[in-house]
Symmetry: C2
Subunit: 185 residues, 2 copies
C-alpha cells in the first residue's frame, strides 16, 4: 500500500536545503534552512515547525484517459539521482474557482489554459507530483512538488511563466515558490 | 463561513434515533440507538463511539453547469420540519474505480448510470448532502445524507433500487444503509 498522506515542514532539518522562498501571490512562508517531507497518519499531531502543510495523494480530478496515456508514456520519475533540484509550490485558488461546476473548471484549466498539455511538453525532464490539501483544512489547496536536474532550471522557469500567465492563474490568490537542493549535493 | 468538516457517530445519544442498520455490500456497522452529526476541526481527537466517520463538504466533482442549474431550481433543503426521516448511506468504491481517469468516471456515473438525473427526479421530496471521506483516510469514500417526510419512504427506496442496479454500483465494494428518525418525532 502506497503512503497517501504527507506533511511538508519548513525547519532546521530535512532532506532538502532551501535555496530561495518567493511569495508569488499573497502571503509567503517563513524562510527556513531545510524542508522535510514525511509520510503521516492524519491522527498524528503536527510536527512543530516554522510552517507545515499536509497533503494527500489522491485520484485524478481533471486528467482524461487519452491525456493520462500521453503522460504515462513520458512520465518522469521522482527520486532520479541527477534530479538534485526541487521546487515546492503551494497554491490556493479563490472562492470563485471552487464555486464553478466541474466542466467549467476543466474548460478553464485545459481547453483555455492548456495546463496538462504544457506539463506534458516538459516531461520527462521536469518530474512532478500533486498533493491535495484543501479538504484537509490546510491554508493551501494544493502543493505541487517538482524535481529536475540543474541544467533544466531555466526550462522549469519557462514552464512556470507559461502557467502563471494562463486564464486559470487568475483564480490563484496565494502562491509560494520554494526552491530546494537535495542535501549532500 | 460554513462549517466544512463533520463527524458522524453511532452511540448512546444524538439528534437522530436509529430505526435500522443494513449492510448492503460488504461489512456493516454496529447497531447503536442514536446517530449524531457534529461540526469538527480535523485536529480534534475522535469522539469515543461505537463507530465514527469523518467527512468534508467539498466542491462538485462531476456535476456540470447545466446540471447544477437544474438541481438548483428544485433543490430540497435539509432541516425541513416535515422531513423527520433520514438515511445515512456510507459507501466505498473499489480500487478499479479510483484508477479511472476523470472522463471515464464521469461517463460511468452519468452517461451510463444517470446518477445525477435520477437524483433530480426525486427532488425536492428527497433532500440530500454529500460528504467526502476518502481523502481523510476514512473507511468509507463518501457519506450521503438524505432527509424526507414519512410519506416519501417508498419513493426513497425506489430511487435507491435504481441507483444500486446501475453500472456505477458495480464499483461499490462497501455500502451501509442506516435509517433514522429525528428525535422528538
Amino acid at each position: 500500500m502506497v503512503d497517501r498522506f504527507y506533511e511538508f515542514c519548513g525547519g532546521q532539518s530535512g532532506a532538502w536545503r532551501v535555496a530561495q522562498v518567493m511569495a508569488v501571490v499573497g502571503e509567503g512562508l517563513p524562510l527556513t534552512p531545510f524542508v522535510s517531507l514525511t509520510p503521516i497518519d492524519l491522527s498524528m499531531p503536527r510536527v512543530p515547525a516554522a510552517w507545515s502543510v499536509r497533503g494527500v495523494r489522491s485520484n485524478e480530478r481533471y486528467v482524461q484517459a487519452r491525456e493520462r496515456s500521453a503522460l504515462g508514456a513520458v512520465q518522469g520519475d521522482l527520486g532520479r539521482s541527477e534530479a538534485v533540484c526541487a521546487a515546492m509550490i503551494p497554491i490556493r485558488k479563490n472562492a470563485a474557482w471552487w464555486a464553478l461546476a466541474q466542466d467549467e473548471r476543466r474548460a478553464l484549466m485545459e481547453e483555455q489554459s492548456h495546463h496538462i498539455a504544457i506539463g506534458l511538453e516538459y516531461l520527462p525532464a521536469i518530474a512532478r507530483r500533486l498533493y491535495h490539501c484543501r479538504d484537509l483544512g490546510e491554508p493551501f489547496d494544493f502543493v505541487t512538488w517538482f524535481e529536475f536536474a540543474p541544467p533544466h532550471v531555466s526550462l522549469f522557469d519557462h514552464m512556470l511563466t507559461r502557467l502563471r500567465s494562463s486564464p486559470e492563474w487568475a483564480y490563484v490568490d496565494r502562491e509560494v515558490d520554494i526552491r530546494l537542493q537535495r542535501v549532500g549535493e
